[in-house]
Amino acid sequence: MIVAERKTIPELIEILKGQKKVLVLGCGTCVTVCLAGGEREVSIISSALRIASRLAGFSLQIEELTIERQCDNVFIEKAAEAIERNDAVLSLGCGAGVQAIAERYPAKPVYAGLNTAFLGILEERAVWTEKCVACGACVLHEYGGICPITRCAKHMLNGPCGGSREDRCEVLPDRPCAWQLIYQRLKGIGQLDRLKQIKPPKNWNASIHGGLRVIVREDHRI
C-alpha cells in the first residue's frame, strides 16, 4: 500500500494562508490504513488547524469529509458539493489522490496535506516499512522475493557489498542487510545458484527516470 505522513501544522498553515473556507478531504484507502489521512486524521488535523489558524489571527472555516478513494472519479463525485461550497481543498490523500481531485476541479485550489513516502507494508504495530520503489521492471523472482533495489541501502543487484556487520546494514545499522536476507531466503528455497549469475546493469527506463509512465489495456477500453 501507499504510505504517507502528514505535513507539520506550521507548514499547513503556511499553505492555507489567505483561504477562508477549506474542505479537509480524507481518503478511505491506503492513507487510512497508515493512519495519515483517514476519517480520524481528518478530524484531528482539522481541529489542530482551527486552533492554529485562530492563534495565527485568521480563523479558518473547515469542513471535514472522507471519501472511499480519492484516486477514482466515481468516488470523487461524492465530494462534489462539499468541494463546490469551499474555497479550497486540503487533500489528505496520496499524491495521486491530490492530483486526481485537482484535475477534476480545475478552478479550485487543491493542496497536499500529506507527504507521500513509499510503497510498503505494516511491519508491526504502527511501523511501516518500504518494500517497493515501483521500478517498473520487477526482479523479485531472481532474489527470492526480497527486493535489493528497495531494501539494500546501496541498491546493489550484485551483492553483498561486504560492509555488513553480522546481519546488519553498514549504512543503516538498525536495518537488516538485504543481501543477508536474500542469501537466507534463496538457501531456504534451494535456489542459491541464482547468486552465481552476474546481473547486467538494470534498464531504468521503465522507472520514473524514463518519464511519466502510462499503462494502457486496450482489451478493456471498449
Binding site: I9, I44, S47, A48, I51, A52, R54, L55
Partner: protein, 135 residues
C-alpha cells in the same frame, strides 16, 4: 490574559478515580470551568478527544490513569501516556506550547489524595500560563 474562567478537562479512568469524587471536586472549584469525563479505561482516550478539548477552548487537559502495571485491560494506561505525549507535541506544533496536557498516574491503586494534589498543582500551573486559547 483574558478574564474568562480557566477551562480544564479531566479525563479519568473510572477504575482509579471515583466519578462522584471527581464531580464533587469539579463542582467545588468556583470561578473555574472544570469538566470531568469518565472513561472505562484511560486507554479509551484518543488523540481526537484530547485535541477536541483544546479546540473547544480548554486551557489544560489531565488524563488520570491507573497505577503502573495495574491496568485491568493490561496496556490502557501505557497507551494513554503515549497519546498524551503525541498531543503535547501536536500542541507545540500548533503554537500553544508544551505542558498544557498531563498524565496523572497514582503511586497506589486508589490514591485520591495524590490525584487531587497533582490536579491542584496542574491547575495552578495552567492558570499561570499565558491564556492564548480563547475561542
Amino acid at each position: 490574559m483574558d478574564n474568562r474562567p480557566l477551562k480544564i478537562y479531566l479525563f479519568f479512568c473510572s477504575n482509579s478515580f471515583d466519578t462522584d469524587t471527581a464531580r464533587r471536586y469539579c463542582a467545588a472549584r468556583e470561578g473555574e470551568e472544570l469538566k470531568a469525563i469518565s472513561l472505562p479505561c484511560s486507554g479509551k482516550v484518543d488523540l481526537l478527544y484530547l485535541i477536541k478539548a483544546f479546540e473547544t477552548g480548554a486551557d489544560g487537559v489531565m488524563v488520570i490513569t491507573c497505577k503502573q502495571d495495574a491496568c485491568r485491560y493490561l496496556e490502557g494506561n501505557l497507551r494513554a501516556a503515549r497519546r498524551v505525549e503525541a498531543v503535547d507535541s501536536l500542541l507545540e506544533e500548533i503554537g500553544l506550547g508544551r505542558g498544557r496536557i498531563k498524565v496523572i498516574k497514582p503511586k497506589e491503586e486508589v490514591d485520591v489524595e495524590q490525584i487531587i494534589r497533582e490536579v491542584d498543582n496542574f491547575r495552578a500551573k495552567i492558570s499561570g500560563l499565558a491564556c492564548s486559547n480563547s475561542q
